[in-house]
């Protein structure tokens, strides 16, 4: 098929007396080969590898940069998580401490109150007891003194020594009863 075409073109070329464009001239081949070899060598051995190296380096750089950025981001996220966790822990701790303090305060107040109440009771009781004792003492000494006075007075008035112990005691008792009765009657009158 091709050879037919070539033959046809050949005859056409002969008729037109122009060279057949499908048949290369020797010089055409020589110079074409020269050009292709030079282009091939310069491109394949020098220019393309060099440019490609720069391209690869750039890709590497960009990818390295991206990886670095990613790492930094991950680190930051980790730090944030940690911080958040610590914050939460601190908050929990603070809340716990506050709660404890409140409970402790309540306990202290209650204890103080109990203690104060007890103290007051104790003081009141002491006072009461002291009052009782003093009253008793007063009553005893009063009774003695009044007895002596009355006896002395009575002996002076009666002129009779009440040396006898039993008799004297009976006289004093009777006198005191009378005195008490008259005082009660005065009090009833006074009222």
């Amino acid at each position: 098929m091709i050879s037919g075409t070539i033959a046809g073109l050949l005859t056409a070329a002969e008729e037109a007396e122009t060279p057949n464009p499908l048949l290369p001239e020797t010089y055409d081949i020589v110079w074409s080969l020269f050009i292709v070899i030079i282009l091939g060598v310069v491109f394949l051995k020098y220019a393309l590898p060099k440019i490609q190296a720069v391209l690869d380096e750039r890709t590497e750089l960009v990818e390295g940069g991206l990886a670095k950025a990613e790492a930094a981001q991950a680190e930051a996220a980790a730090a944030k998580d940690e911080y958040q966790q610590q914050l939460t822990e601190a908050r929990t701790e603070a809340a716990r401490i506050r709660e404890e303090a409140r409970a402790e305060g309540t306990a202290i107040v209650a204890e103080s109150r109990t203690r104060a109440t007890a103290e007051a009771a104790r003081i009141v009781e002491n006072a009461q007891r002291q009052i009782d004792a003093e009253r008793q003492q007063a009553s005893v000494s009063l009774r003695n003194e009044v007895g002596e006075l009355a006896t002395e007075l009575a002996s002076k008035i009666v002129g009779e020594s009440l040396a006898d112990e039993a008799r004297r005691s009976r006289v004093v008792e009777r006198f005191l009863d009378e005195l008490e009765a008259s005082t009660a009657a005065d009090a009833g009158k006074g009222n």
């Binding site: 122009t18 050009i35 292709v36 030079i38 391209l55 380096e57």
Partner: protein
């Protein structure tokens, strides 16, 4: 294509009398020698155009490599974009990650080189694509051909390679009677041949179209009789449209060549897929 070319040749002489209409022809692609005429190192206009394109591309890529920085400038960004496209959009896409990494440099080289040698077709004063003469597309195609041939034989062995290519699995045995010769032609002739012819014919046709439009415009404006001058505006507009189209074609053909390189490598290296 041959009919198209010969019909061009028959139509154009109608105008090609003394009035000065210079129709583009196949002779445009075989201009007179400038240096070393008749030797294998003959240099003509198209060879010079190729040298210029090559020199410009080499300057750009060497400067880009020298000045390549981690923080790229504007120029570096453009070159990196094309490299990235060749690697990710073509090599990785078709060959997969592992093979793609291995062959991305070749595919990138082919993409850059063919684009620069194509684009001279629309550069003022150069006005012809370096790839519009068959030698250069042929050398590129042979590079790809030997690349897939040698690498496939190296990784699969001669037997493995031929078995994978000529006897594709999953087909009833008797089909091989038809399939094997077709596959043989595919692998050893049609793939490199179509790579060559697609590129060279596209660029050649583009040049003929542009030259036709602009020489017709020039003729109609300056030499044709009154009423015909209006037609010059039409051919000028057509020329402008084809000019834009040719920029697109220059890029598209470079892309097609690069992507077919990847596809043929893939077919040769991983025949089971």
């Amino acid at each position: 294509m041959e009919t198209a070319l010969s019909s061009l040749a028959t139509i154009l002489p109608l105008a090609a009398d003394d009035s000065g209409f210079h129709a583009p022809s196949l002779a445009d692609f075989f201009p007179p020698a400038v240096l070393f005429e008749g030797t294998p190192f003959e240099i003509n206009r198209i060879m010079i155009v190729r040298f210029i394109a090559t020199a410009v591309l080499l300057t750009i890529i060497i400067l880009a490599a020298k000045r390549a920085k981690l923080v790229p400038g504007r120029g570096q960004v453009i070159i990196e974009m094309v490299m990235n496209f060749a690697r990710k959009g073509i090599a990785d896409e078709i060959l997969g990650e592992k093979l793609g990494k291995k062959y991305a440099p070749v595919i990138t080289t082919i993409l850059f080189s063919i684009f620069f040698l194509n684009i001279t077709g629309v550069v003022p004063f150069l006005n012809v694509a370096g790839t519009s003469v068959i030698g250069l597309p042929l050398i590129f195609a042979l590079w790809v051909f030997f690349l897939y041939l040698i690498d496939a034989v190296r990784s699969l062995g001669v037997g493995g390679f031929l078995k994978g290519q000529l006897f594709p699995p999953g087909v009833p045995k008797f089909v091989y009677i038809v399939l094997t010769p077709v596959e043989f032609l595919q692998v050893f002739l049609l793939r490199p041949a179509t790579l060559t012819i697609r590129l060279f014919a596209n660029m050649m046709a583009g040049h003929l179209l542009l030259a036709l439009c602009f020489s017709a415009t020039s003729y109609l404006f300056f030499q044709a009789a009154g009423g015909l001058k209006v037609l010059g505006a039409v051919t000028l507009a057509g020329g402008f449209a084809f000019y834009l189209l040719e920029i697109f074609v220059a890029a598209l053909q470079a892309y097609v060549f690069a992507i077919l390189t990847a596809v043929y490598l893939q077919m040769a290296l991983e025949p089971e897929h």
